[in-house]
């Protein structure tokens, strides 16, 4: 199976520090790849590079073997869904308008949009009676479901999730984790999921990518990381979160 996204020698430096050292990474089709690491290690940077919010200082990023350039980025973005921790919903638009924004822009038919919307409500377990509400009128969990619907609206090939559950309380979070896992399986969705929580990573991850200080430290299954740590940091990271994993 070929990689959907391929990063080759990609690096990114901010004025202050090297956010990402020269990095190679492939995201496999149909899998949920978990990106994990301590805060500030460069996880968001990696995602932002993939969706073209920032340009790499060096290296290339290929999507479906097509190198991302400023000219093709907008059409590629429509094949990628992006969800961030705060949801990123536009406060002046209703849930429905947020979800349909891009489809409307692309001139999709009303029937097509409506049936897709119902499909997504069912998929994300979002009550369609809430569609006319504005983001401020929704709970954190509901907002993330809307955000997910928006990301899935155009049936993207890749879903980028940047700590999507990070701001939710544990109960809501647990139910969303379960729903998300079902959704990914049902859609056979290629997902790159960022979290700093090892438990979440293990729950979702076909493949876990552990990062530290702008570098990928190890890539493998949860047991690989536990049993064959590439460097002491891996064990350190796992041990630090052990309590969480066990509960």
């Amino acid at each position: 199976m070929s990689a959907l996204v391929k990063l080759a020698d990609v690096s990114k430096r901010y004025a202050g520090a090297q956010a990402l050292h020269s990095t190679n990474l492939s995201i496999e089709r149909g899998k949920t790849t978990l990106l994990i690491g301590p805060s500030g290690c460069g996880k968001s940077t990696l995602l932002r590079l993939m969706i073209g919010l920032i340009a790499p200082d060096s290296g290339t990023i290929a999507f479906n073997d097509l190198t991302i350039t400023p000219t093709n980025i907008d059409s590629l973005r429509r094949r990628i869904g992006y969800v961030i921790q705060e949801g990123g919903l536009f406060p002046h638009l209703t849930a429905r308008a947020n979800v349909l924004l891009m489809a409307r822009y692309l001139g999709k038919s009303q029937e097509e949009m409506q049936s897709r919307l119902m499909e997504l409500c069912e998929l994300t377990r979002f009550s369609d009676t809430l569609l006319s509400r504005y983001p401020v009128e929704l709970s954190g969990g509901q907002r993330q479901r809307v955000s997910l619907m928006r990301a899935l609206m155009l049936s993207p090939e890749l879903l980028l999730l940047d700590e999507p559950l990070g701001a939710l309380d544990p109960l809501v979070r647990a139910s969303l984790q379960k729903d998300l896992k079902e959704i990914f399986a049902r859609l056979q969705q290629t997902v790159l999921f960022v979290t700093h929580d090892l438990g979440e990573a293990i729950y979702f991850g076909d493949e876990i990518v552990l990062m530290n200080e702008g570098r990928i430290v190890q890539k493998g299954s949860a047991s690989d990381l536990r049993e064959k740590p590439a460097e002491p940091f891996v064990s350190e990271f796992i041990n630090a979160q052990r309590g969480v994993v066990l509960t």
Binding site: G52, R78, I84, P91, H92, L101
Partner: protein, 503 residues
């Protein structure tokens, strides 16, 4: 016998009717064949009125006459007269000398009459008024300074003079006049004729040029300064007529000689300009009984409506410009960088210039001067900063995560701006526009200073006359207007700010 006569009489009756009809028919044919006298007139109010007066004078003398109004300028009427298309028209002695006889010499009436006779044209004696250039002032100011003649102006070099561009440029205009009288005033500006009256009324100028029979002289309570050195050429009104015209028509026209003085002509002109009904103005001449002058002024509600309307035009149009320019500039400024900095810097600097100074700075510039556009430009510049600043800050306050979400969706930059960023910044932008509108309503009162009118007009003349009631006539409506505008914008907030941002 009786019966017989009776029968004859009965037979004669239809014959009588027939004879009567025949006579009437003849009379009609004769009167129709008697061509009416054609009176011409030039293309301005006074000439129209004089033409109407001539027509009615002839009609009163049972001479059929028609008036062909506003045929054109001197040359056209002179040629029509010579060609016989018209029989008579009103003219001015100065114009006859300069444009028809083509001499710069001041000719006596006899000299003119002799010269015209060679063209087969006759001239009445002067009608009684001299429509020449004159310098006019506010009556109150002239009385306060004790000014009566142009020579008196020498004692007051501080007076501000506003002249029409034509008068400034004319060979027999301002420059020779200044030399002749040795006038010391340095503060001389060019003003549009109509605006000049407004400028005079509100005291931004003290002296202006006018035609001595201009209706505005009475309307604005102005006085004419006597041309004590006889500088201005005489432009005495007369009628020119074809010498071949019916003698009774000539006699009728001559009855107008010496019957129309300046005051009377001003009144007729005023009536004509106010009603646009020249026949009615001409009829005033025949009515003789002078109307009281207070009907010349508008009623207070009329004035208030005029001031308010103009005020709203000034503030509204300048606000529109501020919005049209302010929002795009604000969008540019929100991007920061040297361009953004300089835009905000410029708008801030403009705001720090006192409004009076800004007006004063604009007036001497070529395109501006004393005009409505200067007022609107100044108000526009004032209104710019709140809109630019609020647009920029409203856009900058959008969280980065939301900006990036819009980009990540793949929306084009224009759609992002239009559907996401601007609506999200709408509250801030609208509050900038509201600030701007309220400032403009207040500042627009200063527009009266440069003759642009509005509610500043009564405030200014009230200040000039030290009349508090007049000041309040402008100040109270201006304040109410500002409140109203504020309230309207609060309503507008509810319509224009997306609901999701108001919950």
């Amino acid at each position: 016998m009786l019966v017989g006569r009776d029968r004859r009489a009965r037979r004669a009756l239809p014959l009588c009717w027939l004879a009567l009809l025949f006579v009437m028919f003849l009379a009609a044919v004769i009167s129709a064949s008697a061509n009416p006298i054609i009176i011409g007139s030039k293309k301005f109010t006074e000439s129209y009125v004089l033409g109407e007066i001539a027509k009615r004078t002839l009609n009163d003398a049972v001479i059929p006459a028609e008036h062909r109004q506003g045929m054109g300028g001197t040359i056209i009427l002179w040629q029509a007269l010579q060609g016989g298309q018209i029989d008579a028209y009103p003219e001015y002695t100065g114009t006859i000398a300069q444009e028809i006889l083509k001499t710069n010499r001041q000719l006596s009436l006899n000299e003119i009459g002799d010269a015209l006779a060679r063209f087969g044209v006759g001239m009445t004696k002067p009608l009684g008024f001299n429509n020449t250039y004159a310098l006019v002032m506010r009556r109150s100011e002239a009385q306060r300074l004790g000014l009566r003649t142009i020579s008196d102006l020498r004692k007051h070099p501080e007076l501000k003079i506003g002249l029409t561009h034509e008068f400034l440029d004319r060979q027999d205009g301002w420059r020779p006049l200044r030399e002749r009288y040795g006038l010391p005033q340095r503060n001389v500006i060019g003003i549009d004729h109509a605006l000049g009256y407004a400028a005079l009324a509100n005291g931004s100028i003290d002296v202006k040029d006018a035609y001595s029979t201009d209706a505005k002289i009475a309307e604005n309570d102005l006085v004419t300064l006597e041309d004590d050195l006889g500088f201005f050429p005489k432009y005495e009104a007369v009628f020119l007529f074809r010498l071949s015209m019916r003698p009774d028509a000539i006699a009728a026209l001559r009855r107008l000689e010496g019957t129309l003085d300046e005051k009377r002509m001003i009144r007729l002109n005023l009536e004509a300009e106010r009603t646009k009904n020249y026949t009615r103005a001409a009829n005033l001449y025949f009515e003789d009984g002078a109307k009281s002058t207070d009907t010349m002024g508008e009623s207070f509600p009329q004035k208030l409506a005029r001031w308010t309307l103009r005020h709203l035009q000034l503030a509204g149009f300048s606000l529109l410009l501020s919005v049209l320019f302010g929002i795009p500039l604000g969008i540019l400024a929100s991007r920061g960088g040297p361009i953004g900095q300089s835009i905000l810097g410029f708008a801030s600097v403009v705001q720090t210039i006192p409004s009076l100074a800004l007006l004063a700075l604009l007036v001497p510039l070529p395109f501006f001067g004393i005009s409505v556009r200067t007022a609107i430009t100044a108000l526009f510049l004032y209104g710019l900063l709140p809109i630019v600043r609020n647009t920029a800050s409203g856009l900058q306050d959008i969280p980065r995560s939301l900006r990036e979400s819009a980009i990540a969706l793949g929306l084009s930059p224009i759609i992002r701006l239009w559907q996401i960023y601007l609506p999200m910044a709408s509250r801030s932008i609208l509050s900038g526009i509201k600030t701007s509108a309220v400032i403009n309503i207040g500042t627009a009162t200063l527009a009266a200073l440069i003759g642009a009118g509005g509610l500043g007009e009564p405030i200014l003349s009230g200040l000039n006359l030290n009349d508090h009631v007049t000041i309040l006539e402008g100040a109270i409506p201006a304040a109410l207007l500002a409140l109203l505008v504020q309230w309207l914008f609060d309503l507008l907030d509810r319509v224009l700010i997306p609901k999701g941002l108001r919950i």
